[in-house]
Amino acid sequence: MDFLRPSTLDEALAMKAEFPDAVPIAGGTDVMVELNFDVRRPPALLDLGLVTELSGWTRENGHVRLGATVPYTRIVTELGDVLPGLAMAARTVGSPQIRNRGTVGGNLGSASPAGDAHPPLVAVGADIEVASTRGSRTVPAREFFTAPKKSALEPDELIVAIQVPEAAGPQQFAKVGTRNAMVIAVCSFAVTLDVAGKGVGTGIGSAGPTPLRALEAERFAAAELPWGSGEPLQENIVRAFGELVGAAARPIDDVRGTAAYRRHALSVLARRTLGWAWRSVPQEVAK
C-alpha cells in the first residue's frame, strides 16, 4: 500500500487525480478501523495531515468555513458559540482521544448514516466545499449523502471545507446509544431555530439509509411555533412535532436497535430538543 503525503492542497488534488483509488486519511478514526478489520484494502492512502489549507477555520459572511481536517476537539472548544449544534454533536463523538483526531471532513467522507456531525449540518443547511484539479464546487449537505456510505463526492475530488451558517438561534443535538459515552448512534436528532427568520431546521441520524431531514416537521413547527411571543410551547405542538419527526425516519432493525424503537426514540428526542431550544430563545428577541 502506498502512503501519499502531499504538503499543499494543490499537491493533494493532483495526487487524487492521479490516484483516484487512494483513500484520503485525516484523523484515521474511521479509515484505520476499516483497514484493521480488513473491510477495505485500498492501493494507497492519501494523508491530508500536512495540508495546512484544510486544518483551520475562518468566519466569513455569516458562515464559518470549517477546514475539512479540523478535529472535533477544536470545534467543541473554539466554535461552541457560533456553531452550537455542531459543537454539541462533536462533543458526543467517541472518546477524548478520538475527538482529538477525528474530523468532520472524515465523517462526511465515510458518509455513514450514523455519522454524528451529519444531522446538525443537514439541519442548518451547510454546504460542502469539494475540489479537484478540475475546479471546486459546493454540494448542499442535504444532497451530499446518496446511500449508506455513499456520497456525491467524485473519485478525483477531496472535501476541502464545510460552510456552516452561524447560528441564528438556539440549536440542539441529542443521540441515543446503549452506553453513556463512546457509543455509535442508535439514532440521533438535531434541531435549529432561526428566530428572526422564523425557520426550523432538522436532521435525523442513523435512522435511514442516509442522514435525513424531517421536512413536514420543519414546516409544521415553523408555522405553529409562537414566534416572538415569549410564550412557552404548547404540549400538543411539541407532541405533533415529535410524531412528524418519527414519521420522517426510515429506520431498519439492526444489531443496535429495532426500527420501532428508533422511530419512538426520535419522537422523544424531537420533543425534548425542541423544548430545550425554545426555552433558550433569547428573551429580548422573543419579546
Binding site: V176, R179, N180, V268
Partner: protein, 763 residues
C-alpha cells in the same frame, strides 16, 4: 547460646500479608510499557494466520491450499492432516485442532498459515479454497435436547446433552401457601479482555518447542499440547507471557497448538496475534441460559421449596460446560435455607459459539434467576425484599441442596444489612451535569422521564475446583544470602492474569520468612502445576502452596540454626528469633553459603463428586458471598439507564491485600453491570452479529458509578490465613440488583438480561 548481648527485634519487614504493597506491573501498565504477549518478538520470526469457517454448521467436502502456497513469503500452510493428534479439549476432548470433515460453529479453525508478514499470512489464508456443504445449524438449546434433534457429536452419549445435573433434596412434592414462577433468560456475555489471544512459539534445538503464551493455566495447555503434537512433556515448554486480562476466556486453547505446529514445521519462531474481531471467535463465552423457576413459601415468608430447570447453551464444543452446569445446579437455589429443592441443570451442544468459563461460571446465570424470584416472592407476600432474603439467609450450619453443610462463616444476612444501611444517594435538584443522567454526554435528557429505582441482590459462589477434582498447586521457595542480604525466591507456574498474584506471593513470603527482599520467578512449566487462575482459587491454593513451602524452608533454616547452637523457633525481621521473640542471630549469619530450597505440592481438603441421580455430595471446598444494592436512574421514555450507585458488601475471610480486594470488587461489579444493561454477543442462526467493540459494548467510566464497599473478614478455618476467594462473587449479585432497580423504576417484569432500551419502552 553464643550470643552475649540481646538485640531488640525490629520488625522492619513491610509489604506482608494484610498490607497493600505496590504491584510490580502497576506502573508499567499505567504507562503503557508493560510487555503483553502481543508484544513478543523474535528475530526472523514468522506470523501465523488462521482460516476460519464462515458457517455455523457445514460439511467440508474439499480443501485446496495450492494457491495459498504459491504466494511469495508463505512458509507453511497446514491442515488437519498435519496435526499428529487432532482432538483436544480442556475437560472433554471433542474439538479438532483443525476441522476435518465438518465445522460446527462460525469461526472454527480450518487451516493455518505461516508467512514472513502478517498481511501476507492473512492473504494466503484467503486464497485457501474450502468446499462447504452448508447444513442447517442447531441453534436453540432447548430444541437441541429433544430426541429428534440432529446429533452434533455422534461419539457423545446422551445426544446433544453434555451434562444433566439433577439436584434432589427434601420432599418430592412439597406444598406451599404462596407460589411464584418465572422464566428468565441471560444473553451471551463475553469476557472482553483487552489483550487479544497471542503468543510466540520458538522451535528448540532438541526438537522441542518453547511457547511464550498468555494463558490461565500453563500445565493444562501443556497437557493438551503434548497430546496434539504427540511429543513428550519435556519437549513442550511453556512460559507465561504478559496477560492482558482473562476472566475465563484463556482457559481453553486458542492459538497454542497452531503456533507450535507452524514453528515445528518451519523451524522458525512463529507469532500469532488475533485481531479484535478474530478474538470474538477465538475464545469461549458465558453460557446463555434459559431458566424456569418455581418458588414456594409459607404465608410468613419461609421458603418451602425451589424447583428449577436451567438450560445452558454450551455451543459447538463441550469446553467446561459440564462443570458450569454443575455449578448452576448446585448453587441454583441461592444463599438460602431451602428445605426442599429439585433442580435440573442441562448443558447442551448446539451450533452456536462454544461457551465455557467466564467469571462466575454458571453461578451468575442462576443468581439472576433466583434473585429475580426472591423479589417476585416478596411482592407476592407483600414483604420487603431484603427482609425476605434475611429471613431465609443461609448461615454457618445451613444444609445446601447437595446435602453439604456450610462449615465456615456465611454472613449472608449481615451482608444484606450492610448494603441496606448505606445512606441512599440524594436525588439531585436543579441543573444536572449530563454525565450524571441516563444517556450521559449524548444529551438525551435534562431530567425528563427520569425515574429512580433501588434493587438488591445477593449471591453464592464456590471457590476452587469442585466435585472431586484433584485441585492443587506447587510452589518452590528458596532462601539464600545474596550480596550480604537474605533473599527469598518464589517459583510457581501460576498465571498472573492481572489479579495481583505476583504481589501476593511476595507478601506471603515476607510474612512467613521475615525477609524483605523477595524475587518472584517467571511462571513456566519448569516447576509443577499451580492449577488454573480461575474459580477465585489462586490466593487460596497457590497462596497455600507458597505458605507451605515457606514453612518447610523455615523449618530448614531452624535446623541450620540449631546446628549452630541457636534454639530458634522463628524468623522475623531478617533474624532468627526465640519463642519469646528474642533475636538470637542474623539470618545472614545462620545461612552463610547455604541455600535452603523446598518444593511443595499443596492441596485443599478434598471434595467429592455429586451423586449422578440425587446431586448429593460434598462438592465445593468453600463458599463465598457478596451482596449489592443498586440505585439507578431510568429514562423511562427512552429506555436508557444510568446506574447511580452500587453498594457492595463481601466477606473475604481475610483481606490479604486490601487494595487488591477492592479492585476485584469494583471490577467484578462492573462486569455484572455490563451483563445487566449492555454486554451481549448477538447470535442469529449461529452467526455472531457484533464481533467488535463498536457493537459489543462494555461499561465506560461514565457507566460504572462510584461504589461504597464493605469488606468483612470472617475467617474460614479451613483456608490459609482464613481467606476466601474474592474475584467472582461481586460479578454475581450486581446483575440482579441492577435489574431489580430497573424493575422498581419502571414497574416492568424484565425477565431477561441485558435489559435493552426496547425492553423498557416496549418498542
Amino acid at each position: 547460646m553464643t550470643t552475649t548481648t540481646q538485640q531488640p527485634l525490629i520488625t522492619n519487614v513491610t509489604g506482608g500479608v494484610g498490607d497493600s504493597p505496590m504491584r510490580p506491573d502497576g506502573a508499567q501498565k499505567t504507562r503503557g510499557e508493560f510487555a503483553y504477549s502481543s508484544d513478543l518478538w523474535a528475530d526472523d520470526m514468522l506470523w501465523g494466520a488462521t482460516l476460519r469457517s464462515p458457517h455455523p454448521y457445514a460439511r467440508v467436502k474439499g480443501l485446496d491450499i495450492t494457491e495459498a502456497l504459491k504466494l511469495p513469503g508463505v512458509h507453511a500452510v497446514l491442515t488437519h492432516e498435519d496435526v499428529p493428534d487432532n482432538i483436544y479439549g480442556l475437560e472433554h476432548p471433542d474439538q479438532p485442532v483443525l476441522a476435518v470433515d465438518i465445522v460446527r460453529y462460525q469461526g472454527e479453525p480450518v487451516a493455518i498459515v505461516a508467512a514472513d508478514h502478517p498481511e501476507t499470512a492473512r492473504r494466503a489464508a484467503d486464497r485457501i479454497v474450502v468446499d462447504y456443504e452448508v447444513l442447517t445449524p442447531v441453534t436453540d438449546a432447548e430444541a437441541a435436547m429433544r430426541p429428534d434433534a440432529p446429533v452434533l457429536h455422534p461419539a457423545h452419549e446422551g445426544g446433544n446433552i453434555v451434562r444433566h445435573a439433577p439436584i434432589r433434596f427434601g420432599e418430592e412434592n412439597p406444598v406451599a401457601d404462596v407460589v411464584v414462577t418465572g422464566e428468565y433468560t441471560v444473553g451471551m456475555q463475553d469476557q472482553a479482555f483487552l489483550g487479544p489471544e497471542s503468543g510466540l512459539a520458538v522451535p528448540a534445538e532438541d526438537g522441542g518447542v518453547d511457547l511464550y503464551i498468555a494463558t490461565q493455566w500453563l500445565h493444562a495447555d501443556q497437557r493438551q499440547l503434548t497430546k496434539a503434537l504427540a511429543m513428550p512433556e519435556d519437549k513442550v515448554r511453556l512460559h507465561l507471557a504478559g496477560v492482558g486480562g482473562a476472566f475465563g476466556a484463556r482457559e481453553d486453547l486458542s492459538m497454542q497448538v497452531h503456533a507450535c505446529l507452524l514453528a515445528l514445521h518451519t523451524r522458525k519462531p512463529v507469532k500469532i496475534v488475533y485481531g479484535r474481531e478474530e478474538s470474538f471467535f477465538g475464545h469461549v463465552h458465558r453460557h446463555p441460559a434459559l431458566m424456569r423457576y418455581e418458588h414456594g413459601a409459607t404465608r410468613d415468608g419461609d421458603l418451602v421449596y425451589v424447583k428449577a430447570e436451567i438450560i445452558l447453551d454450551g455451543g459447538a464444543y463441550a469446553s467446561t460446560t459440564a462443570a458450569v452446569t454443575g455449578n448452576a445446579a448446585t448453587l441454583g437455589a441461592g444463599p438460602y435455607r431451602v428445605p426442599n429443592v429439585r433442580i435440573d441443570g442441562y448443558g447442551v451442544y448446539t451450533n452456536n459459539p462454544p461457551c465455557g468459563a467466564m467469571r462466575g461460571f454458571g453461578a451468575v446465570q442462576a443468581c439472576f434467576a433466583y434473585e429475580s424470584q426472591m423479589d417476585k416472592l416478596a411482592a407476592a407476600l407483600d414483604m420487603d425484599p431484603v427482609d425476605l432474603r434475611i429471613r431465609n439467609a443461609a448461615e454457618r450450619g445451613t444444609v445446601m441442596p447437595t446435602g453439604q453443610v456450610i462449615d465456615s462463616p456465611a454472613p449472608v444476612a449481615e451482608l444484606l444489612e450492610l448494603v441496606r444501611a448505606k445512606p441512599l444517594p440524594a436525588i439531585p435538584t436543579g441543573p444536572r451535569d449530563l454525565r450524571e443522567l441516563p444517556g450521559g454526554v449524548s444529551n438525551t435528557t435534562h431530567g425528563e422521564g427520569v425515574v429512580r429505582g433501588v434493587g438488591y441482590g445477593v449471591g453464592i459462589k464456590n471457590v476452587g475446583f469442585s466435585e472431586g477434582f484433584d485441585d492443587y498447586s506447587t510452589a518452590r521457595v528458596r532462601l539464600e544470602v545474596i550480596a550480604g542480604e537474605p533473599v527469598v525466591s518464589v517459583h510457581t507456574a501460576a498465571a498472573e492474569v492481572g489479579q495481583g498474584l505476583v504481589t501476593l506471593k511476595a507478601q506471603i513470603a515476607r510474612t512467613e520468612l521475615g525477609v524483605q527482599r523477595v524475587q518472584i520467578q517467571p511462571s513456566n512449566t519448569f516447576v509443577g502445576s499451580a492449577g488454573s487462575s480461575s474459580a477465585s482459587r489462586q490466593s487460596y491454593v497457590t497462596g497455600g502452596a507458597v505458605r507451605a513451602a515457606c514453612e518447610e524452608v523455615r523449618a530448614g533454616v531452624l535446623e541450620l540454626a540449631a546446628a549452630r547452637g541457636f534454639a530458634a523457633t522463628g524468623l522475623a525481621g531478617g533474624k532468627v528469633v526465640s519463642a519469646t521473640n528474642e533475636v538470637l542471630a542474623d539470618l545472614v549469619d545462620v545461612l552463610g553459603d547455604e541455600v535452603v530450597e523446598r518444593t511443595v505440592e499443596w492441596r485443599h481438603r478434598p471434595t467429592a463428586p455429586l451423586d449422578p441421580v440425587t446431586g448429593q455430595g460434598f462438592a465445593h471446598v468453600q463458599y463465598a458471598f457478596a451482596a449489592h444494592r443498586a440505585v439507578v436512574d431510568v429514562d423511562v421514555e427512552l429506555g436508557l439507564v444510568r446506574v447511580v450507585e452500587l453498594a457492595c458488601a463481601q466477606d473475604v475471610g481475610r483481606a490479604m491485600n486490601p487494595d487488591a480486594v477492592l479492585g476485584q470488587i469494583q471490577g467484578g461489579s462492573a462486569q455484572g453491570l455490563g451483563l445487566a444493561v449492555m454486554e451481549e454477543i448477538q447470535v442469529v442462526d449461529g452467526v455472531v452479529r457484533n464481533p467488535s467493540f463498536t457493537d459489543y459494548l462494555i461499561p465506560t467510566v461514565l457507566d460504572m458509578p462510584p461504589m461504597t464497599i464493605d469488606v468483612l473478614e470472617r475467617a474460614d478455618p479451613h483456608a490459609p490465613y482464613g481467606l476466601r476467594g474474592v474475584g467472582e462473587p461481586p460479578t454475581l449479585s450486581s446483575t440482579p440488583a441492577i435489574a431489580a432497580a430497573i424493575r422498581a423504576a419502571t414497574g416492568l417484569a424484565l425477565s431477561r438480561v441485558p435489559v435493552r432500551p426496547e425492553h423498557i419502552v416496549g418498542a
